[in-house]
Amino acid sequence: MSNFSDFIGGGGGLPVNIVLGHSQTWVPPVAGNICIHVVGAGGGGVGTDGSNRSGGGAGYCKKNSLAVTTSGSFTVVVGAGGEGGYNNATGGTGGNTTVAGTGLSATLTANGGTGATTSAQGVGGTAANGNVNNTGGAGAYTGGGAVGITGTGNAGSASADNDPYGGSCDSVGPESIIGHGYICGGKGGDMFYSKTAASATYGPMNYSPNGTGGFLAGGGTWYMDGSGMGQRAHGGHGGIGGGGGGCNNDAGATYATGGNGGNGIVIIQYLPA
């Protein structure tokens, strides 16, 4: 296997995605032109007894095209998602994802989103040195911020009345269209609103929710309304690069834990010759 046509099996129609989910030294398996997508890690949400505070989405950096050979080498560092905060502890800041190596004049950098505090939503991570450098979405009442592919990432909404979800990726689509210099994400995780009486006004009433965000999207928050419930609650985790959802439990902050931010990722795509 010595060239790109051999690498993709000679058909020439399928995109070749190489997904790097942990830090490593990457050597191109074949020569060709690649597109590099770099996504930082999401910030963690916070668990409180007074507010829904979520983590920020990660920054996104893209190198449109780079010629590589099998003698080249790249150092890939993948950021880890920020831990959700328990009992008023600030959510962890997401780690930064970077790519440096042969042919790159500067390190491609996608920074992590910050964690939420009891008084402030998390802030989206920035990015630098790519052809595209987008800031992640901020944390919000309904959930964590998302990664922005076409522009600044989406935040969740400030109210659950109309849109009870964490931030969704601004480039939502089926996995099948990913490739040739483009990636897509998913929808933000559901926000859950649990109430002592069975009369929740919005959002599913569910004691074991799964508010995890989709790929590149934020996790949903969980608001447990009613101090008499006395159950532990946990904000939804962010998808890759997404911020974690916050958790607000009227029973007390010791019953509340924020969702974790999603880890970062690097996706390398071989472009058609």
Binding site: G21, Q24, Y86, R232, Y255, N263
Partner: protein
């Protein structure tokens, strides 16, 4: 594995996903990240979970008007609901009467 990367002064500069070999080869100052331990459930939480499971397990009896112990279960379920507000919570659990 998750690692905390630090500068020479001990300040955290990044948190990354990596294996030990990569971290040793590329960074001078680091430590393995340790997940915080989840707090043990309190006696009140354990009691509430048991109470909720009892209510759920006996819920099917309520529509059965000819169940031989239906009245006992109605009383029992009411005691379960009131239990967290009583002095016997969480130490003494309500019991089904005969």
């Amino acid at each position: 594995m998750k690692y905390i990367i630090k500068d020479a002064d001990g300040n955290i500069t990044n948190t990354i996903v990596a294996d030990a070999e990569f971290v040793e080869a590329n960074f001078e100052h680091y430590e393995e990240w340790v997940a915080p331990t989840s707090p043990e459930p309190t006696a009140e939480e354990t009691a509430r979970q048991w109470r909720d499971s009892e209510l759920a397990a006996t819920d099917y009896i309520m529509p059965l008007t000819d169940h031989p112990q239906r009245d006992d279960y109605i009383t029992y379920r009411e005691e379960l609901r009131q239990w967290p507000a009583t002095n016997s919570f969480p130490a003494t659990r309500p019991e089904l009467g005969e």
